[in-house]
């Protein structure tokens, strides 16, 4: 856990928000309970859930 990991996730979210493809995946690792950035070629925990789509679907707007 570190600011660097936080910034890596933030940079990935911002890139996706601006439709800039990075080839990375954001996954939820149930072992650590944290979001993890998985770069191309890196192995994922088989139990991990990819959250790319959850982020890209967008968040509700003000009602």
């Amino acid at each position: 856990m570190s600011d660097k990991e936080t910034r890596d996730i933030g940079n990935e979210l911002a890139a996706r928000n601006q439709n800039n493809a990075t080839g990375n995946d954001i996954v939820f690792d149930p072992v650590t309970g944290e979001l993890v950035l998985v770069r191309p070629g890196e192995r994922k925990n088989p139990d991990a859930t990819t959250v790319n789509q959850i982020a890209e679907d967008g968040f509700a707007q003000r009602k």
Binding site: I9, G10, A14, Q61
Partner: protein, 147 residues
């Protein structure tokens, strides 16, 4: 929520959030909620209260952050005091001053979505919030709005 759906939700949450969640009043539709603990990459712990509406899963749950009970923005302002704020993806707080998170849009909500997916979406919000604390950029710099 009927018993069959409750069992499905429990099974998924037990797999992905073991020992980090609890259903409260699961058989009382008027008081039912999910208490779930989340942790960010920066090591901060949060507790969410996911209120399960009587007609769940047809209706979408509401999500409040109950711990910490006061979240500050980059400038030190209480997020709850902002009320509904699109740039920060928050909705009006509850009577206790706990902020309410935007997650799925009600227009996109469908019964196939689960409480696990709602919790994951809120974890994404929390990571965006921590980046806001580091950079000062609004949360909608990191998280897009539903269209």
């Amino acid at each position: 929520m009927n018993a069959a759906r409750l069992n499905i939700e429990k099974e998924i949450l037990e797999k992905y959030f073991p020992r980090r969640h609890a259903f409260v009043h699961p058989t009382d539709p008027s008081r039912s909620y999910l208490d779930v603990g989340l942790k960010t990459n920066s090591g901060r712990a949060y507790r969410l209260k996911i209120i399960i509406p009587p007609d769940y899963p047809s209706a979408m749950p509401l999500v409040y952050i109950v711990f910490p009970n006061r979240l500050l923005d980059y400038r030190g302002k209480n997020l709850a005091a902002m009320g509904a704020d699109g740039s920060m993806h928050v909705l009006p707080p509850n009577d206790g001053g706990c902020i309410q998170l935007c997650h799925f849009s009600s227009s996109l909500w469908h019964p196939g979505l689960t409480l696990y997916k709602v919790a994951l979406k809120c974890l994404v919000w929390l990571e965006a919030y921590h980046n806001h604390l580091l950079t000062g950029k609004d949360i909608d710099y990191y998280l897009r709005h539903c269209h």
